[in-house]
Amino acid sequence: MQKISIIFRRELAAYLRSPIGYVVAAVLLLFDGVLFQARALSAGEQLSADILHAFFYYTSGVTMIAAVVLSIRLVAEERQQGTLVLLTTSPVRDVEIVLGKFLAAFLFLAGVTLASVYMPLLILVHGKISFSQVAVGYTGLLLLGSTCLAMGMFASTLTRYQLIAAAVGLCLVGGMLVLYYLAQVVDPPLKGVIENMDLFARRFDGFMTGILNLADVVFYLALTYFFLLLSVKTLEAKRWQ
């Protein structure tokens, strides 16, 4: 646990010291604001619940991309710069490396995501939505962000090239996004299996409408765990190569 904390603090400081952290934060907030203004608020007279739904719809897209961008550097950059060897030759377990880095990226992403909370708060103040709807929506964003971070981190452990890691990470996320549409053209029972694997259309809808479905929470947590486990196993495997 102590090693996780040491790596976590080093990674978090790296985000705060490097331009990538500020660039991602600025771009994420800019896109959130622009999409909120241009898409969610510009459709004429709407129910405030619909505006909130639209806000979480657009923000989730930005969050997924930001998560992949933040995570691809976690291992690939260290491997490219030759700094990973400090950790791999220290008495630190691969799982501690992965968790320390993941938690730092997650906390940074969570901070930046939560910085957009003023927009749903505006809807809360001027419209008829409850605070729990906002809270559920942000819970969904953080779960979705954490899943995409884990996918990006897995991509990052595969290669030393950040560009390749980004491409793999985006393909993984993109692949899981289109599963819902793939499910529409196949027959049962495969249809049900694929539909349940979908990352967004089916799983995230409840969060956007303020419904906290335990199955969706477990799905995102399980997917995060799965990709973090793959990351650990990939780091271990690299030692055998």
Partner: protein, 336 residues
């Protein structure tokens, strides 16, 4: 301290190392010498528990490095070829981080930092960002991170790589001072680095240990099979006559004419044993002036050239120290 038995490493179907077996005693400073691609870095990474060997066993301080890598890592400080430095951190923060991930408490790091900074001459830059440091200082930070937790075994992979001559001397002195506290394993393809800092040498070629011993033990072989460069001048300017005289000397196997050399005619003599005295005496007796008489290359370099090239490494991979010596290396290659 270190015991390796039949260690080998394959990257896919490509054999990078082994099988190699060697022991290193506590307190020894051992040099890994070899041409680029000889397997030095692979061997060091295995010893540093950064890579697992494909087969064989490695133990450090009696602890198996394959089944208990964590315990071994606690005892090792590793400086890879490119120091693992975070440019966005200050020297102090980075060394603290390195100490903490190696299992030191915050209090231990705080106590140890000034000692390490003094030992590696980093006192003046301990608050500077690493990315602002010169290459020489970065290399020192690399050494500092390797010794921050006072490891028993220090593994340095090409520690003088990219340093200027002044920095090389400083690094050598630093390594000498570290010998008092650590067992040291250094790799290099530069002979003086190894010969001037290490007690014992292991010469690697094509993934195997092709020679091992102290410098004196290794160079004893060269004295027995010497190569000599001679520059001589006869009164009539006939280099053919000089060639004939040299070829007739007892112990001389082969004489090669090198052309005009040092104001006379140059010859390279391949001989069994040290024939320098006989060459000098015979030439003078035949009224031939001796302008220069040298062993072909430095003793240790001769060992390196003969065993490394003989082991199948490409001669072109050798960085030739000076033009005259290239011929000798080529001759050695031809002979081997």
């Amino acid at each position: 301290m270190i015991r390796t038995e039949q260690v080998s490493k394959f990257f896919g179907a490509q054999r990078a190392l082994g099988p190699v077996s060697f022991d290193i005693a506590d307190g020894e400073a051992v040099g890994f010498l070899g041409l680029n691609g000889a397997g030095k870095t692979t061997a060091l990474r295995i010893l540093a528990c950064d890579l697992r060997p494909s087969s064989g066993s490695v133990s450090v301080d009696g602890i198996d490095a394959i089944t208990q890598p964590h315990e071994v890592r606690k005892r090792i400080g590793f400086l890879p070829e490119a120091p693992p430095l975070h440019g966005d951190m200050t020297v102090r923060d980075y060394l603290s981080f390195a100490g903490r991930v190696r299992g030191m408490s915050a209090a231990e790091v705080k106590k140890r930092l000034p000692e390490v900074c003094a030992q590696t001459h980093l006192d003046e830059v301990d608050n500077a960002l690493i990315r602002h440091l010169s290459h020489g200082f970065r290399q020192r930070v690399g050494v500092a991170q390797a010794i921050i937790h006072a490891p028993k075994l220090l593994i340095l992979d090409e520690p003088t790589r990219g340093l200027d001559p002044f920095q090389i001397v400083e690094m050598r002195n630093m390594i000498r001072s570290l010998k008092e506290h650590h067992t040291i394993l250094i790799s290099s393809h530069i002979l003086p680095e190894i010969s001037e800092t290490c007690d014992r040498l292991l010469i690697l070629g094509a993934g195997s240990i092709i020679a091992a011993g102290t410098e004196a033990e290794l160079t004893a072989d060269v004295a027995r099979t010497g190569r000599v460069i001679v520059s001589a001048r006869s009164s009539d300017g006939d280099h053919g006559a000089i060639h004939k005289v040299l070829s007739a000397i007892d112990g001389v196997d082969h004489v090669t004419y090198l052309g005009r050399h040092d104001g006379g005619d140059g010859f390279e003599i391949a001989a069994t044993g040290d024939v320098r005295a006989a060459v000098c005496r015979t030439l003078v007796e035949n009224e031939i002036d001796v302008l220069r008489l040298d062993r072909a290359v430095r003793e240790l370099e001769s060992v390196f050239m003969s065993v490394a090239v003989g082991a199948g490494a490409a001669p072109a991979a050798i960085a030739p120290p000076e033009p005259a010596l290239e011929k000798v290396a080529g001759g050695s290659d031809a002979k081997n």
